[in-house]
């Protein structure tokens, strides 16, 4: 199953390579390679703890493709610097909000029998 795309405009926050790899912007190149490779192995073996990562907008599903992409992004110093700016704000996992989209709108007061009111059996 494909992961649903993040809300437009939030990709850099939700798919930030540092968040995907679970690293801080200060991480060294060796740490990035090591952590990335470890996560890839864990995902292949099917470790549950590797299946999600934390972002300021709540937990997101982690996939091997995301990890690979994150590692490639952080190998390029200029691209890495841009991601560092976006990774500056990451509250600890417990403070992370619910995933975007979990917001419930005003509870409507639906009338299931509305079509039957007009004598229609089908909507």
């Amino acid at each position: 199953m494909a992961t649903p795309p993040p809300t437009p405009g939030l990709r850099k926050l939700v798919r930030n390579p540092f968040f995907i790899l679970g690293l801080t912007p200060e991480a060294s190149r060796a740490q990035i390679e090591r952590e990335g490779q470890k996560l890839l192995s864990m995902l292949q073996v099917g470790f549950g703890e590797a299946s999600h990562y934390h972002t300021p907008l709540g937990p997101q599903r982690r996939t091997a493709e995301m990890v690979r992409h994150a590692m490639a992004e952080l190998r390029d110093p200029s691209r890495r610097l841009c991601h560092e700016v976006w990774a500056a704000y990451c509250p600890p996992p417990d403070d992370c909000a619910k995933p975007v989209g979990s917001h419930t709108p005003d509870q409507p007061d639906p009338w299931e029998g509305a079509f039957a009111s007009f004598g229609w059996r089908m909507s």
């Binding site: 190149r29 192995s41 590692m71």
Partner: protein, 819 residues
């Protein structure tokens, strides 16, 4: 014979020559063929009775039975083209499969194992259909699992592997048969990265060969008065012989300062065929090849400039490819770039070596899997086969962990006995993660020890694991950008060049037209394109995801959300799926397209069109007094077009490869022409905007209402801002708006409708309904004579309704239905 260690196989499937290499974790060794050389000519011979011979054996027949031998089929992979060899017709991938089969036999002879798994290199310019064809060739040759790697990446990997320095840049210069690639490597913090890549898809050893042929033809014309041309198919075999003779002379000139080209009965003449005997010197060769060498140096300098690296910061220059063996080239490049050449690299086998190293990174052990002892407990292990990191992790899981006597603790020990991990307990998922330490630039073997709950040792399978320390590239990078063409002719990039594979990405798009459920005339097209251009129509269409109205559960109105997911596996196989968010319906039928064949007539027409555009640009550059840089760019395109002209000529003479090359080149030149066009159009656009605004301002002032005048001022202001930003699209929009307001005021003038009538009457021959249009014009003339303005206005409106819209239809990108 390799009996214990892993074997990794890499194959360089070249245009002219092919080679293979094996890596055993310590050494990379080129594979020798039956003649004892590492290079196998990419030639296949099929005789009258269907017998096949490959490589050197096929080459022997090239001189006296050229029709039975076929080469240069690599560039035709992925096309529908059937190649005729003797009386047999074979697809390019079938011929490539014969070559791969021969290489596989050579590997078996050398290492004792017929490999099932291998890495095959492809040119960086290869698109998805060509990659798929190469994969098919490997399958036909008996390989069960193959991965593709771009040639420049392979040579970079081979050059950078075990680089004994921690800092600095390397330049890998790869001049192949048909393409030129250059990669810039950087070593940082113990990791070697490919930081940049550039190239010229239309420059290669073939250009050197044809330049030599051209030189020889000129000599022949001068001495014998015979004109030989590539456009004449009758001359094709003669030019082929001449080319081979010149190739031999070129090789000879690596050792000596002068060589002879001798071909008996080569030159056709009314008095009977004449012998050819030419002398060629080192100096001649250098002069002939110099333009090609200079172009490669330009590309290298462009790459260095793009990465802000000065030539003196580059430590080594590694040469790769057949032409790199030419002393003339070595001398020229070293001098022009001012970078010292790296010694000790074999330019002919470097790509195959890189492929073998990559096979190790990708864990593609070519050996058949040995059965595990029955008593052993299976471990599912994941670790890098090659690691640049000195402290990688080994992740594992115990299979059937609930069995009696299953391991509960694991320990790893390096075989040199200088390192071992602590006993690690399994987690709740019966898994473990152990950080190991590697010895630099070695093959590190670790023994796995396990204990059960009672502390008794347990036999596990596999009992050992191997990690090679060195430059690694665990994921093959994507060679060309892939995205979705949008209705606005833009491209939504899904995967950028260099993206590690496999990759998957999802973006939300919206439909631009309504697709009615059940309608067989409605179709939502999602074109998948490959290429580096921002404008979709310049990229190559590599597949189309189609959503027919007949397959829909509900009607999809314009503006509906569609989540499109593209997925590429390690070999570059593309799959796509579209999820209609509202109805939750999924579509994943992708029509994969072939590489379009280059019909000479179509190429010729496109070439003519581009030539005309170029002439227009030249004139416009002169009119608008464009600067030197602009003119230089125009001349670059002109040179490119000259090359295309020659290729089209060759294609007319039967050279399919030249046709394909011309098609690609025309596409790239088209993009450059569009850029130049946009640049030159800017002053004209400004001029048009100026008079339109002045015209509209005049009528607004005369007849415009207060409200209209305010709107007009807003539009004029927005237009001037757009002009400042050089935003042509926005400028056109705002000027259009202001012009419409001016037109609104204009029609209030008593003379407006008569003048509009005359304009409409002048265009009456273009009307959709001619009799009605002529009747209306007659009515209009009557109204004009009566000075009945209301009737005249009615007539003009009716005429407008039946005259075709002047609106210029914007080109739609492969009829994309998404935005």
């Amino acid at each position: 014979m390799h009996e214990s260690g892993p074997i990794y196989v890499g194959i360089d499937l070249g245009t002219t020559n092919s080679s293979a290499a094996v890596f055993d974790g310590e050494q990379v060794t080129p594979v020798r063929n039956a003649t004892g050389t590492a290079l196998t000519p990419s030639l296949v011979r099929i005789d009258g009775s269907g017998r096949i011979s490959v490589g050197h054996r096929a080459r022997k027949f090239l001189a006296h039975d050229p029709d039975s031998v076929r080469g240069e089929f690599k560039r035709l992979m992925g096309t529908r083209k059937g190649l005729t060899v003797a009386s047999n017709t074979r697809r390019p991938e079938e011929l490539a499969a014969e070559l791969l089969r021969a290489l596989r036999r050579d590997i078996e002879t050398q290492v004792g194992v017929a490999p099932d798994r291998a890495v095959i290199t492809v040119p960086a310019l290869f698109e998805l259909p060509q990659i798929a064809a190469t994969r098919e060739a490997a399958r036909l040759a008996g390989f069960t699992e193959v991965e593709m790697l771009q040639e420049p990446v392979a040579s970079a990997l081979a050059a950078g592997f075990r680089a004994d320095h921690s800092h600095g840049h390397w330049l890998v210069y790869d001049l192949g048969g048909g393409t030129f690639d250059v990669s810039l490597l950087a070593a940082r913090d113990g990791f070697v990265d490919v930081v940049g890549h550039d190239g010229d898809n239309f420059l290669g050893g073939r250009d050197l060969d044809w330049a030599l042929v051209q030189w020889a033809c000129e000599q022949i014309e001068r001495e014998h008065g015979v004109v030989l041309s590539r456009a004449n198919s009758a001359h094709t075999p003669i030019l082929g012989k001449l080319k081979r003779a010149l190739e031999d002379a070129k090789i000879e000139l690596s050792q000596v300062s002068e060589a002879s080209v001798v071909c008996p009965d080569l030159i056709p003449h009314p008095d009977g065929a004449r012998h050819l005997e030419l002398q060629i010197t080192q100096a001649d060769l250098e002069a002939i090849c110099e333009p090609v060498f200079a172009r490669t140096v330009d590309v290298c300098q462009r790459l260095l400039a793009a990465n802000r690296v000065r030539a003196n910061e580059v430590e080594r220059l590694v040469l790769v490819g057949g032409p790199a063996a030419m002393p003339a080239l070595k001398k020229y490049i070293e001098k022009a770039l001012g970078i010292e050449l790296a010694r000790g690299y074999d330019p002919m086998t470097l790509v195959a070596r890189g492929a073998a190293l990559f096979a190790a990174s990708a864990n593609l052990d070519a050996r058949p899997k040995a059965p595990a002892p029955a008593s052993a407990h299976r471990l599912w292990l994941r670790h890098p086969a090659v690691s640049a990191d000195l402290k990688p992790h080994v992740v594992g899981r115990v299979m059937r962990a609930d069995e009696q006597g299953a391991p509960t603790q694991i320990k790893l020990s390096r075989n040199d006995n200088n390192w071992e991990s602590a006993w690690v307990s399994l987690n709740q998922e019966a898994g473990f993660i152990v950080g190991v330490e590697l010895i630099a630039r070695r093959s590190n073997i670790f023994t796995i020890a396990a204990k059960d709950e009672a502390g008794n040792p347990v036999v596990v399978d596999p009992p050992t694991l191997t990690i090679v320390q060195g430059m690694s590239l665990s994921d093959p990078p994507l060679s060309r950008r892939i995205g979705i063409a949008l209705a606005s002719d833009r491209v939504q990039v899904y995967f950028d060049r260099g993206e590690p594979l496999p990759a998957r990405r999802t973006f939300r798009h919206h439909t631009v037209e309504t697709v009615a459920r059940g309608s067989d005339t409605c179709l939502l097209k999602i074109p998948i394109v490959q290429g580096e251009f921002d404008r979709a129509h310049l990229c190559r269409l590599v597949g189309t995801l189609e959503i027919p109205g007949t397959g829909l559960k509900t009607t999809v109105p314009a503006g509906s959300a569609v989540d499109v997911t593209l997925e590429l596996d390690r070999g570059g196989n593309l799959t796509a799926r579209a999820l209609l968010a509202d109805s939750d319906q999924v579509f994943d039928e992708v029509a994969h397209l072939l590489v379009p064949e280059a019909s000479v007539d179509v190429l010729e027409a496109t070439y003519q069109r581009s030539g005309n555009r170029l002439q227009e640009l030249r004139k416009a550059a002169f009119r608008h007094h464009q600067d030197g840089d602009f003119r230089q760019r125009v001349e670059t395109v002109a040179r490119g077009l000259d090359g295309v002209g020659r290729d089209i000529e060759a294609a007319r003479g039967g050279d399919d490869d030249a046709g394909l090359k011309a098609r690609r080149m025309l596409l790239e030149l088209d993009a450059q022409l569009e850029d130049l066009d946009a640049e030159i159009q800017w002053p004209a656009l400004l001029e048009e905007a100026k008079w339109k605004l002045a015209w509209a301002a005049h009528w607004q002032q005369k007849y415009g209402s207060e409200h209209e005048q305010r709107l007009f001022n807003d539009a004029s202001m927005a237009a001037s801002k757009a002009r400042e930003r050089r935003d042509a699209v926005e400028l056109e929009r705002q000027v259009g708006l202001a012009y419409d307001l001016g037109f609104n005021a204009f029609v209030r003038d008593p003379q407006a409708w008569p003048s509009l009538f005359e304009q409409a009457a002048a265009a009456v021959d273009n009307a959709r309904d001619l009799p009605a249009a002529h009747a209306l014009v007659a009515d209009g003339r009557d109204a004009l004579a009566r000075e009945d303005r209301r009737s005249l206005e009615r007539v003009v409106r009716k005429l407008w309704n039946i005259l075709p819209a002047t609106h210029k239809q914007r080109r739609q990108a492969f009829e994309s239905g998404l935005r």
